[in-house]
């Protein structure tokens, strides 16, 4: 799985560096380095929401530093094949607001 976190100006101001470090810590503490690739990205075109996070070059999620932990845990669960992400995503977005 590849996760891209936008570091463009708008997302940076909303805490994308924090989101990245939360993701990094989670990936490192769970030894998911081989399974989750964390990358930076420039503008993903959703500047008015919270920090844009794109999963596998598809859907773009809006994740704030507050919801980042929960979001990455959900992705972690998906990686180990326990749950689908669809329904959980809605919760993440609600938390972020």
């Amino acid at each position: 799985m590849e996760i891209k976190v936008c570091i463009g100006s708008a997302c940076h101001l909303k805490g994308s560096y924090e989101v990245i470090s939360i993701f990094k810590n989670y990936i490192a503490s769970h030894d998911y380095d081989q399974r989750i690739v964390l990358k930076s990205s420039f503008c993903l075109g959703k500047c008015s929401d919270a920090v844009s996070v794109q999963v596998d070059n598809e859907k773009i999620f809006s994740v704030s530093p507050e919801s980042a932990q929960m979001f990455i845990e959900l992705l972690g669960q998906q990686v180990i094949g326990q749950q689908a992400i669809g329904q959980q995503t809605i919760n993440v977005q609600r938390v972020s607001k």
């Binding site: 463009g8 100006s9 940076h12 101001l13 990245i20 470090s21 990205s41 420039f42 503008c43």
Partner: protein, 475 residues
Amino acid sequence: MRKFENHVQKVKHDCLKYVAEYAFSGQLSRAVDEIPYKVSPGPDPQYRCCVFHERAITKERVKLAMGGSDHPYEFVEVLPSACDQCPVNRYVVTEACRGCIAHRCIGQCPVDAITIVNGKASIDYDRCVECGKCKDNCPYNAIADVMRPCKRECPTGAIEIDASKKAVINYDKCISCGACVYQCPFGAIGEKSEITDVISAITDQNASVYALLAPAFAAQFDYVDLGKVITGIKLLGFKDVVEAALGADLVILHEAEELLERKAEANPMTSSCCPGFVNFLTQKYPELSALVSHTVSPMIATTRLIKAIDPQSTVVFIGPCIAKKTEKARYNDTDFVLTFEELAAMIEAKGIELDSLPPSPLNNASPFGRGFAAVGGVSSAIAAHLNTRSITDIKIETANGIAECDKQLKLLKFKRFQSDFLEGMACKGGCIKGPVTMHHGHKDLKSIASYAQMAMEKNPMEATRPFKDLAISLI
């Protein structure tokens, strides 16, 4: 509304705007023939002897805006039809000469070039050595120094005069600093543009084109909120706008380490971010080339950062500098270099009303990276960073403008340079005083200071923390 500093700036802007319009509408092949008639519809001329002369000049200007000559390393060109053949002789006796009886001019002239003809001083130009003693000693200030502005401002003596009295650039001496471009009162010297290449890149729907803004941006577009300009740049078709100051933050960290290494070897080091300075050094003091920092400039560093994150991207640097075009040609990183003047022309050509747009943020770099735009910025950033590591014994010298650079380089050459680091800036005042900035005002420095203070990240370490794993080469 933009207020032009002078008519030359407006003429250049109008021409670039028309070229951009033709490029956006895909009709470039007609630009050379049609634009001269748009600029000078006639029948009366606006600023030259006749409309035909004006159209001939515009034609040359359009060609330069479309890329100019094929010479890969000649970035500044004289527009022959625009050069007004300013006087070749430097000193002239003016009407103010009263034909006094002291004749200090005659007494001071070391080559007996002055005689009195019809009661007034007259200079024999076959003898005159242009020492200026007659001018300095006339009690009536009646002798004027009318040296051509291009020649006077050229720091390397690269402007020569041909048999028809037109200015010619000696490219063996030219460092592409652009001083002549800014100073010529007839707008007869210009820089080659890549505006049409950039327009074809941003109109390609499949391309990811990034605008890389030099920190001198803070002193541009003083008639509108800068956040609106960022939105405008995105509307032009750029995927994102990135601060070159972010690359400057990477440069600070790298160059500070390099400085410590050089100091340990007892060698001084010079900065490498100003291409005018680097060109000057390599041309006039080639034996000092090894002293130039091996760290790349913020432009190259930020380009590499963008391409590490988005490998398919095209990167367009937008700045106040002509010499950056030479730096771009030396490396194989940044794709195009535009000037702020060209950016303003593109925005107008596309019909973007900046005032009506919502603002977008531009905020990634630290105040130190942003400070690179003014002279002393590199020095203070490196000193501040070393300070955080409790290193305070580094001695730094700042050279403001080519004349001061020359002085410090001479000291380096003769091993009389007493400091560890030399920051060289070709333009007096730094990038904010570059030849192709939109404004040359006294407020520039204030704009940079307040822009620096708006940065969210407090220092280069914090501003660059997500890029540690990217392994970007900075040499």
